[in-house]
Amino acid sequence: MVDTPNRLLESIAELGRLRVNTRGLERQVAESAGAWLDQATLRLAGGTSTDEYGQLRAEAAGLVEALRAVAGPGRANLLLGRALSLFVKLEAADDGAGLVRRMVGARVAARVIAAPSVVLVLNPGSTSTKVALFEGLSKRHEFEVHLSPGAPDGIEPRARAILAWMSETGVGLDRLDGIACRGGFLKPVPTGTYRVVPEMVRDLETPRIAHASNMAIPIGLKIAQLAGREQEILLTTSDPVVSDEIDTVERLTGFLKQKRDGSGAHYLNHKAVWRTLASLSERPPDEFGAITAHVGGGVSFARHSGGRVTALVDAFAGVASANRCGVLDLPRLLTALKSSDVTLKELEAVVYSRGGLLSLAGTNDFRALTSFREKGANEAQRAKIDLVLDFYGRQFASSILRLAADGQPVEVVALTGGLARSADLVERVTANLAGHFALVVVPGSLEHEALAAGLLAGLHDPSTCRDYARERDALHRRRLDEERLLDTVVFDRPVLFKKEGAPLSSLDEVIDAARLSVRDLAEPPRIGIVGADNDEALLAAQRANEEGRYRVATFSLIGDSAAINAAAYETDLVLDGAQYDVVDTDDPVSEAVRLCAEGRVQILMKGSLHTDEILRGVFKYLKGSGKLGPNDLVSHVLVADIPVRNKLVLVTDAAVNPYPDEEKKVRIIENALRVATALRVRRPQVAIISAIENVNRNVESSVEAERIARRFADRKDCLVEGPLSFDVAMDPDIAREKGYQGRIRGTADILVMPDIDAGNVLYKTLTTQSGATVAGVILAGSLPMVLTSRGDSARSKLASISLAVKMYIDARQNERGA
């Protein structure tokens, strides 16, 4: 039952009242909760005992659970975010065992506690190797093993240095149960923990990028070997940088050639934070949708959904970071590149190492920037720094929001990495997100815990370890299938949107228009090829019918059947009697004309006979049957598609009437206008070409041109002007330079040539020198004739046939309408 408007308004008012009440309560809760959170944070900072930790944890857990129930845009989200941040801090306190427990899950954690194992974590950097030792769930030792200055860098030196450090910690090599190595630039695999296998070593020999992390696995293997316990020590790696499990749709960009993939993010940290937060929220990871933002030296954002990282803003092509520029404005960049304002080298530097904050402010240290703002910056510099910080705040927030655009639930958004320690930045991002999400702050990174957790899970539940080679190959195959899908051709020729009734501006459009017109007919028109033992004509016919789904016409092959059969044999033409049939005759012209008279053939096409022979026969027939009235003339119209011009241009008469007088020229113009109408050109501009733009008694063609133009002065359906020279008719700049006063300034649709020489020269110049494609048609009354010459390209022949078909169909429709 639908409520009456009054009832509806009442309900809304009630809702509003409730909201007001809720807001009040919200405010109260926010104050109290905020106060408690502040206090807890202070106590934490001040130092707490283990019992207090326990108590605080319990309270935080309770608070988080309660807040989750009422989470929603606004204050509740803010509170939830803060609560969770505190919770994480609490878990991370002490020896980090809480985090590791959260990451491995309760079951494995129980096993680890029952049988504590010793795990070494390796995380090589360019000048040092970060290491950590875990006993059970707890991190016992953490260190950065530097290279000795002057000593050569290599797997063995580093391994030995690490062993030296280990012996200092007192943890014996014989107690080592596993070594968790940072993943290097292996081949792409889905995220997860992988047992180290020889395949990895092989793949690391040819990494995509040379990076210190590539050394981690070899160092781990070396250590195991030096310990003499290769068979007993488990080596794993987790969530390498080359992980890739994004959705197919994320691979597309606006340029088919440029496809994205999932590599280039801080997967280890992203996954670690996400898993931790899922556990803190008491939710199974597969159902915990989240967005994690790692902002540190490099910046990357990951969207977690259904247990995978389904979308990504990566560290190179994402947002600006401390030293990378991220995504730029391409059109402006192109202009800058073309005008050499920016060089490719510069661009490369800015993309990889000297962009971002370094480019904006001259430093890649946010802390230095903010402290300079406090002490030492003048007013202008302070304003600039504020702008830069504002910029980053917006950039980070917008990336987070962009990743939320898949319609899936987002339980939390986490800000992690080194920059998450900056209160200023956190404040800005929180404000920009306007409470849409619960924002959790996890400063620094959980990488060592994640690596250890991965290995522990592998130790105590081997099914969690994935098979590198199989996953790598499966992903590769999936990506190949994806490529094939993404590369699927939808329209093989660009089908451009065309407004209804707009003029046809290219020969491709003519071809399409013909096809569409034929599709609406009950039967396609029949074209008779006069002298069909001609390879080119047969190939043109074949092409007309084999490209595209709609056949443009059927063909009657008129001529000596033995010769036609031999030609058809070699061109693989299928003579099925319907699509193509053979009319055996030794006088093709008469036979063709007879078929026209009987209506069995509607359009004629030149085959191996000479044009004049065909025209003679046709002319006789048309005159005799009265189809060619006294005011009609047989003339040739050329339609040229010139690459540098944005519309078609018609040229007449380049093939049939050698030296037409004024009367003939008038009729030639009428024929050309008919073609222009078929091309849907409204009010065609007809330029009568001469050598000059003004009337000169010595130049006969100019005098005649003016006369003819005058005869068309009152015509509303076209604009006829003359004399014009060719450049004035075709080029607006030249028309302007010459100060031409007429109305056709470089915009001619139809060029009426003074004689066949000029016409033919223009025709051949266009095709041989200007790269134009041309279609030619001879109009003889209502009978269009297709005239192709041997040098014409395939496209050109197809266009000629299509043009003739279109003219024939238009003529028929006019007859019916009239």
């Binding site: 044999y569 693989d572 014409d792």
Partner: protein
């Protein structure tokens, strides 16, 4: 003398018998059903047809085929005599008074023989031959125009189990001599007293140097020749009994020109005769309401297999009179007279002849009395010629029969029938029963409806040529290379949805080199014999020094600096096979031959390439491997001097 008749000894089922009891199927469906039956029960079908002949010894096997489809034996174990079947049997059956042979003389008079008369003549002739110590298996050549003596000699030769070797009287003396030597002829019949001076000169040259070969001449004027009368008298009035020969005993060796010298195509007695009478019954007799054709006039020469099969042997053995006329001017008057004189006579002719008649007759016709039908064999019969023949020479389009035959086929294998149902104007008709015709593309795959490819026949048929005399490999190479077990005819054909075959053209060209016609396929085979040649296509060009251009794809490729050496090697090989012709051959190496999607070599384009008439970037989208064209264009541009 009556030939003993032995009742049919091979079991033929009632079904097959019933299916073929009517000569002409009522409609297309029945025709197809019959045809299918004839293929499924092939042995029964041919055994049924074999019952039309009289056998002295019945055969015990209908057909035995070798695995490769090349070797074959039909009606193994049987013995018969062709001449007896043609003459003795009809006479014994009471048809002695029927006319057997009609000869229209140049002066307009008509000489005719009844079966009995012809039998007597042939008997005496055979006795005369025997008196000249010609025995079973010896070759007797014929080198003369169509005269009744030639017919008689064919019959007499068969009577004694000799082998007839008809040589076209248009052959040059040289060529004729080669043929005679090739078959080891022991005797040759030539024409004396002939108005044709050119022939007389050739004849004299031929007989001038033939050691150990008896020369018989009709008429006088031939030095050292036994005259016709002498030959007849030599028998001494004795009678020559027909010698029963085994089925596979050669009946004819027909000589054809070829680039590598004359080739003698061998035909077996039983197979040739069985198929001739079967075809005659199915195609010609069926054309008549009475079910029997009284007489047939043969225009193509007596040395052509089609005439021998359908005009001579098929006709006579079926009780149809053979009418001949020496000389081939398009004498419409004579034809009119022939048509007028005979009650029902068919015309066996050739498209060239029809074209010439059309020039003469124009719009007029032969008059009221016309031929009962016109059977056309040889070249392509274009629809307009067919309509002319139907309108001017016979009673309508349906009465014009198009027969497809080749020398090696031993007779017509595809034919249209004289009924509107089984005839399509311009088509080659349907395959005759027992013939399994298919259209195959150059990749060896069967073609779909209306797709053109090469006409092939699966399996064998009785009249098929057995071999090429003295050159067994050539027969296999020429015809059995495309599909195993299939005979490739080298004719381009398409079959439409109804099953009618339509002629599309020869697969190779026939080029005139120094006045001689050369089939490019022969040159291709000569070159393909060299193992270094993977593919080759030869086209004819009209240049001063070069008449043939061979595009060769070397097996495993050939380095540019080795091309000259390989070219020389191939030329030498060609010279050995083809003789002087090799001088007019130019060899061009290619990385691949340009082919269409269905594998056809695009010869027309190759021809244009050979004369430098192809523009780069030309639209040749039917070529499936355009890189081959680019490669060839590059080469032709690299050697511009050779092109012009």
């Amino acid at each position: 003398m009556a030939a003993p008749s032995v009742p049919g000894s091979w079991p033929v089922s009632a079904e097959v018998r019933a299916a073929f009891s009517r000569a002409l199927p009522a409609d297309l469906m029945m025709a197809r059903a019959r045809h299918r039956l004839s293929l499924e029960r092939r042995t029964e079908y041919w055994a049924l047809q074999a019952e039309r002949l009289v056998w002295t010894t019945p055969f015990h096997d209908v057909v035995t085929e070798a695995d490769d489809g090349v070797g074959v034996r039909w009606f193994d174990g049987g013995r018969l005599n062709a001449c007896a079947n043609a003459l003795d049997v009809p006479v014994a059956a009471g048809g002695g008074a029927n006319r057997a042979l009609l000869a229209w003389q140049p002066d307009g008079s008509l000489a005719s023989w009844t079966y009995a008369e012809l039998l007597a003549l042939v008997d005496a002739l055979a006795a005369g031959l025997a008196a000249h110590e010609l025995t079973c298996g010896d070759r007797v050549a014929l080198y003369l125009p169509d005269v009744p003596e030639a017919v008689a000699l064919h019959l007499a030769v068969a009577r004694l189990g000799l082998v007839a070797a008809p040589i076209s009287w248009h052959f040059s003396a040289d060529l004729a001599r080669q043929c005679l030597t090739d078959c080891g002829a022991r005797a040759v019949l030539v024409a004396g007293d002939t108005p044709d001076a050119a022939y007389a000169e050739r004849r004299d040259q031929v007989v001038a140097a033939l050691p150990g070969v008896r020369v018989f001449a009709t008429g006088g004027g031939v030095a050292g020749a036994t005259s016709w009368e002498q030959l007849l008298a030599a028998g001494g009035g004795k009678s020559a009994a027909p010698v029963p020969v085994p089925s596979e005993h050669p009946l004819l060796i027909r000589y054809a020109r070829s680039a590598a010298g004359p080739r003698g195509v061998v035909f077996a007695t039983a197979g040739f005769l069985v198929q001739a009478v079967a075809t005659h019954a199915l195609v010609f007799d069926a054309a008549r309401p009475g079910g029997r054709l009284p007489s047939i006039h043969a225009c193509p020469e007596l040395d052509s297999i089609a005439t021998l099969a359908h005009g001579l042997w098929g006709a006579l053995a079926s009780g149809t009179a053979l009418s001949i006329r020496p000389g081939h001017e398009p004498d419409a008057d004579v034809l009119a007279r022939i048509a007028a004189a005979e009650d029902e006579i068919g015309l066996l002719t050739h498209p060239r002849h029809l074209m010439a008649l059309r020039e003469v007759l124009g719009e007029t016709t032969l008059g009221e009395r016309r031929f009962a039908f016109v059977a056309c064999t040889g070249d392509a019969l274009t629809p307009r010629l067919l309509r002319f023949a139907g309108a001017a020479l016979t009673h309508g389009d349906a009465c014009v029969l198009n027969l497809w035959a080749q020398t090696e086929s031993g007779g017509a294998l595809l034919a249209t029938r004289p009924s509107a149902e089984l005839n399509r104007v311009g088509s080659l008709g349907l395959p005759l029963p027992g013939l399994d015709a298919l259209v195959v593309n150059d990749l060896g795959q069967p073609c779909r409806w209306n797709e053109s490819g090469q006409l092939c026949f699966r399996g064998t048929w009785p009249a098929r040529a057995r071999d090429i005399l003295g050159d067994p490999g050539r027969f296999r190479q020429a015809h059995f290379g495309l599909l195993p077990g299939c005979f490739a005819t080298r004719d381009g054909v398409r079959m439409d949805a109804e099953g009618f075959a339509w002629y599309m053209g020869r697969l190779d060209d026939v080029v005139k080199v120094d006045g001689e016609s050369v089939a490019t396929a022969e040159v291709e085979q000569a070159l393909a014999g060299n193992p270094r040649v993977a593919e080759v296509a030869v086209v004819g060009v009209a240049e001063r020094d070069v008449a043939l251009v061979a595009f060769v794809v070397a097996a495993g490729g050939v380095l540019p600096d080795q091309e000259a050496a390989l070219s020389d090697e191939l030329s030498a090989g060609a010279r050995a096979r083809l003789g002087d012709l090799a001088r007019r051959l130019r060899i061009v190496f290619a990385s691949a031959l340009p082919r269409t999607r269905s594998g056809k070599v695009v010869r027309r384009v190759l021809k244009r390439l050979a004369t430098g008439d192809v523009r780069p970037g030309e639209d040749l989208h039917h070529v499936a491997n355009p890189e081959s064209l680019d490669d060839l264009l590059q080469r032709s541009q690299a050697n511009p001097g050779e092109q012009r």
